[in-house]
Symmetry: C2
Subunit: 427 residues, 2 copies
Amino acid sequence: MKTLKIGICGVGNVGGAVLDTLNKNPEIIQSQGGVHLEVVLVGARKGKAAVENKQLNVVEDLKEVAASNEIDVLVELIGGCDLAKELVETAIKNGKHVVTANKALIASHGDELFKLAKEKNVQIGFEASVAGGTPVIKALREGLVANKVQWFAGILNGTTNFILSEMSDKNTNFDDALKQAQDLGLAEADPTMDIDGTDAAQKASILAALAFKVPFDFKSVSYGGIDQVDPEDLKYAAELGYAIKHIAYGSLVDEEVSVSAYPTLVSKELLLSQVGQQMNALDICCEDMGSTVYYGPGAGPKPTASAVIADLVDIANGGWPSQDSAKKVNKITKKTASFPRYLRLNVKNEPGAIAKISSIFANEDISIEALIQHEARKLPEDLQDTVPVVIISGSVSEEIISKLITNLESMKEIDTKVRQFRIHNAV
Amino acid sequence: MKTLKIGICGVGNVGGAVLDTLNKNPEIIQSQGGVHLEVVLVGARKGKAAVENKQLNVVEDLKEVAASNEIDVLVELIGGCDLAKELVETAIKNGKHVVTANKALIASHGDELFKLAKEKNVQIGFEASVAGGTPVIKALREGLVANKVQWFAGILNGTTNFILSEMSDKNTNFDDALKQAQDLGLAEADPTMDIDGTDAAQKASILAALAFKVPFDFKSVSYGGIDQVDPEDLKYAAELGYAIKHIAYGSLVDEEVSVSAYPTLVSKELLLSQVGQQMNALDICCEDMGSTVYYGPGAGPKPTASAVIADLVDIANGGWPSQDSAKKVNKITKKTASFPRYLRLNVKNEPGAIAKISSIFANEDISIEALIQHEARKLPEDLQDTVPVVIISGSVSEEIISKLITNLESMKEIDTKVRQFRIHNAV
């Protein structure tokens, strides 16, 4: 049986789970994968104290692992972009394969790294960088290889999905749901990168590169966070037949690719709307075939280890065609795709207000598909004279909806800002 | 770029779609897959009339394709077991790889064929044999390679899922739903293999071999069809928070593997319950990681072609470890797993009947988790004096539930047969 000699940099939660799984399931991996995975070198800044198995060869200098000639493949699990990039480049230049869980690294420096890997004829595995234990990168670059991807829509951040699910199911506000996520270890002490959409946007840029054969280009992804979502919006969405999810979306129209990640109303008819707790899911829609959906854990030590080990086995069995060779026929655009929209306005309780709103929509040639105006509820003091109005519009671009909102907000009958979310109901 | 020379046997709907996709998306396949797939020989019993592209080299004798030295790989798309097996064996003995969509062939003769393939050092791709365009075999043998699978539960037959969804959504009976499926081309003129569960059971035996490292052994799968499902059952199931789906289920307990496929109540909390129309879905639950779910089209020319082409690209890129080498540590048992159960009884409207039923359950040490007895509805003439009683039991084996049903049916207060379905609510 083949043996693949592995050097691991970083043995925190994920690195620990990789060692643990290799130790627990070697027969399963050998039986199905046809390879013996042998950890020959571990880089841990805390040294031997960081690992349970005292038989392991542990060094404190991570660069020693990256430069080692004892290994066939470097597993990079330290995260971040600076040192991680240096380690990965060192290993590749030294003719070693790389497996990484580092979404930031791939999203921002993927092209550079894959070019280098091609020159050195080595592989880079990055299944763990998106959707953890759910093999979505494998699906995109192997399972669906025969197909033209039209769009993808994914719940790619477990923390925010947990928070939105909690707010929706238990009728709590954002702060309480975030605290609950932190208590359960599902959100970090500083959850900024999750909450503001950065994490999902990085993953979206990786998926877009694979789906549409465009460069890895995190900078061209537009995104927003879930802190814009109010419990009131979740209630209206539910009333209209939608859940609110943070959706990373990429689409190809006329050789132009747009990638974005925003809180989005998802039709209850779609599986994505049913994805609760901290789970991830990705819907990939292909021409002539329609949707396939992949659901599962998107983070956590064991799921991430599952993806890392799958990459190692794949590399031992021949790996993948060079990602650098993928033809870059399509172009990334900063323009985002058109969507139906949800708008919530606080409208002064005066005659003619709705007529005026309707005419602003008509002027921009935007259809109103649904409108809810309930009788006045109990509102905060300063909104006592207003009623909330919720409108579902036809499909409209970011540019036009911004113009519409500016016009609405200039109406004297509308106070407070207009809230707007996309709607995903495509199949 | 590498070139893989392909011979195709069978150019009906699926073979036609393979040719069509190869012709339509060659850049996509070359860009991501790094291989040029060239069809050098086509076997069609109707000859040249069967193909659109008149440039193709078509022969009427399928055996000529299988024995050709011009090809690198034989794509077998004729179905059935006799001639298909002969063609596949001929190609393998001649040192050629094989890609097949033939579930019956793999389910019944997989071990024999993989042994031969190992001897000849060639590959057999069979992604298309289960769940068409949804890459579930890839997930099982590659994406989840690091994991111990505990169980899988899948909707693997699109025809029956369409019929059950139609019966449930539109409140129609089995015959009308079947006719609708036939009108839409979703059921064959003779749908026996779909309706009686054979098709799903064949697929389940393939998944079990991969998930649990046991032989391909269709004969050891116990199964039943959806013709047992009455509209009345769908209504009660919905009332109790379940959908009825045809579920192929495999599980590993103490090195014993049991595989089966029956109509099953699925908790509305689970994604599988939301899978409508003719779609397929598979939930694979792994130790330490939990469920990943794969959803998508399970049949049809384009999805099947997608899977066939993915296999061809994989073979060009090194293929998979020999399936024959997978250690057969676990054993298949004919015993099926324990499940909670749904039972529907027609009980004579007499005092003490429910008490008597309860005591029969108690005697077998089976818990009653829920019981519904509505006031008498309008019933067929001969059941006028009975009321329907629906019981949800605790988890119980096939053996015990059979004994319980025999005891219930021997009660003079119960006429007509007791209906029983499994319940799947595991996560």
